[in-house]
């Protein structure tokens, strides 16, 4: 049984003018336990919509979303979210206090939760920054705090919405490597959203390519059988890159020519 499954999900947004926009239609997808699934698609195709529904922030208009066979209803600590921007961090809490937030809400004893928060801060390479406030940290550091915060909460699944999109190229590559090694160590199931083919092939075990909206759905899924360290110059890497690129090229063109 897959960990998560979308069955024929439909999501229609109603604009303020009362016009309906069918963002997703007949959207189906299965994510297995322990896999790193990348969801790739042109801008505006509905990737964030998929994540919001799985996180429980929004309900689908029709269809079913199941986790471990049970319908998703509202947010849960089983499904932790790393947001695209840094506005989800708590500016009045230090780095370590941000990371231990979930544990504190569950009344984990202070010394234990500090211990755990420190361990995860160390894991994301933020040793020595525990007492700093988010405003005192760089964009990359803030994304690390977000990652440490969800890891410390030990969810069944991580949902990440273009977490590295706003970072510079060097930092992004570094963060991708760190995330890959964290995933290898923890084997937590990940749904990773990106519009960057390179990032998807670097990180994903499977890559789902979405078609352009409206009425978007998964166009196809690519199995990436590369293991361990992936190099952008490997033939295999380039083959996968090309395969995904060909799938998405027409969709990007479609999404750009869309008259809205």
């Amino acid at each position: 049984m897959p960990l998560v499954s979308f069955h024929d999900v439909q999501k229609t947004y109603r604009s303020l003018q009362g016009v309906d926009y069918p963002a997703l239609e007949h959207f189906s997808l299965e994510i297995e336990v322990g896999e790193f699934f990348c969801l790739l698609g042109p801008s505006g195709c509905g990737k964030t919509t998929v994540l919001k529904m799985l996180a429980g922030f929004e309900a689908p208009t029709a269809g079913r979303i199941l986790m471990e066979g049970r319908p998703v209803a509202g947010a849960s600590r089983d499904r932790a979210v790393v947001f695209q921007g840094d506005d989800s961090l708590y500016g009045w809490l230090t780095a370590v206090e941000n990371v231990e937030f979930g544990l504190r809400m569950r009344h984990v004893h202070r010394t234990e939760r500090r211990e755990r928060a420190r361990r995860y801060l160390e894991l994301v390479g933020l040793r020595g920054q525990e007492q700093k406030y988010p405003a005192e940290l760089s964009g990359g550091m803030k994304q690390r705090i977000q990652i440490a915060r969800v890891l410390a909460n030990e969810p069944k699944m991580l949902l990440m919405d273009e977490p590295f999109a706003a970072l510079d190229a060097q930092t992004r590559t570094l963060m991708q490597m760190e995330l890959a090694s964290i995933w290898h160590a923890t084997r937590t199931t990940v749904l990773f959203i990106t519009h960057d083919i390179d990032e998807a092939v670097t990180l994903g075990k499977r890559i789902g390519v979405m078609q352009a909206g409206p009425r978007s759905r998964v166009k196809g899924v690519v199995d990436v059988s590369l293991d361990g360290a992936r190099s952008r110059t490997d033939d295999a890497f380039l083959r996968y890159y090309k395969q995904v690129y060909e799938m998405i090229r027409d969709e990007v063109a479609k999404s750009l020519s869309r008259a809205d």
């Binding site: 979210v81 840094d86 989800s88 500016g91 009045w92 937030f101 979930g102 809400m105 405003a135």
Partner: protein, 256 residues
């Protein structure tokens, strides 16, 4: 030496500004409008010192301050939870908005008559007026602060397992602190206007009463002592608020 330099860069401008204010006042009262109706600062300060020594000034000051403090604290304690509830729950907002949107346009000064009729000329009417002048500004700012919280802060807490009550106390409340303080700061400034107006009309003591008596008995220098005291008091309390907003707002900012 370095300390002196530091103090100068921080407070030098202020010191100069205030000094020039008094110098201009002094010159104006001697050369421009040489009249008993416009006493120079030296006379005012001498009179002020006298009133401090015989306890009259402190008595009036304490009376006004007590009223402001009582009404301000009560108004804030009422306004903050109401504002939080209005910002957090739409039904509460819809229910209470008619009250806040209607009443906040009736200035507290206009309520003096009603207050005196209802509560007499004792403390109660003054405290009521300060509560009235405080509560709506605090409610409005607090509610605005709640709506300014980034939705992702709430969502993150939800998916980290926080209960609605925990989200309220650990996310919504701290994220709103700078807005609450700003509301209180504005309310404090209004409280000064209100208390003086109320004491002018109906009071046995207070800085407003002092102004009134000064007019009645043509004690112009006493009027000026009262005015300077009001200015000074307002300045000091406002600085205190500015300082606390500055200290907290840095990290309590709702946006980042």
């Amino acid at each position: 030496m370095r300390l002196a330099r530091h103090l100068w860069t921080v407070y030098g401008g202020y010191a100069l500004g205030f000094a020039s204010l008094f110098v201009i006042w002094q010159l104006a009262s001697i050369y421009l409008v040489s009249s008993v109706l416009f006493p120079p600062p030296t006379v005012v300060f001498k009179k002020g010192l006298l009133l401090v020594k015989n306890g009259v000034l402190l008595e009036h000051l304490a009376a006004s301050l007590q009223r402001i403090l009582a009404g301000f604290v009560a108004g804030s304690l009422l306004g903050i939870p109401i504002g939080l509830a209005m910002g957090s729950f739409l039904p509460v907002r819809k229910l209470l908005e008619p009250y806040t949107e209607f009443l906040r346009f009736i200035p507290s000064v206009a309520m003096i008559t009603v207050a005196v009729i209802w509560f007499g000329i004792g403390e109660a009417s003054k405290v009521f007026l300060i509560i009235y002048t405080t509560i709506f500004i605090v409610i409005l700012n607090t509610a605005a602060g709640v709506s300014a919280i980034a939705p992702n802060k709430i969502r993150a807490a939800e998916s980290l397992g926080a209960t609605p009550a925990q989200i309220f106390f650990h996310v919504a409340l701290p994220a709103t602190v700078p807005y609450i303080l700003t509301g209180m700061r504005l309310a404090m400034a209004n409280s000064f206007t209100t208390i003086v107006a109320a004491e002018l009309i109906a009071a046995n003591d207070g800085l407003g009463k002092m102004l009134w008596d000064g007019r009645l008995f043509m004690l112009v220098d006493e009027i000026f002592v009262s005015l300077v005291t009001l200015g000074f008091l307002g300045f000091v309390t406002d600085r205190m608020f500015r300082w606390s907003i500055y200290t907290f707002a840095g990290k309590y900012s709702p946006a980042t």
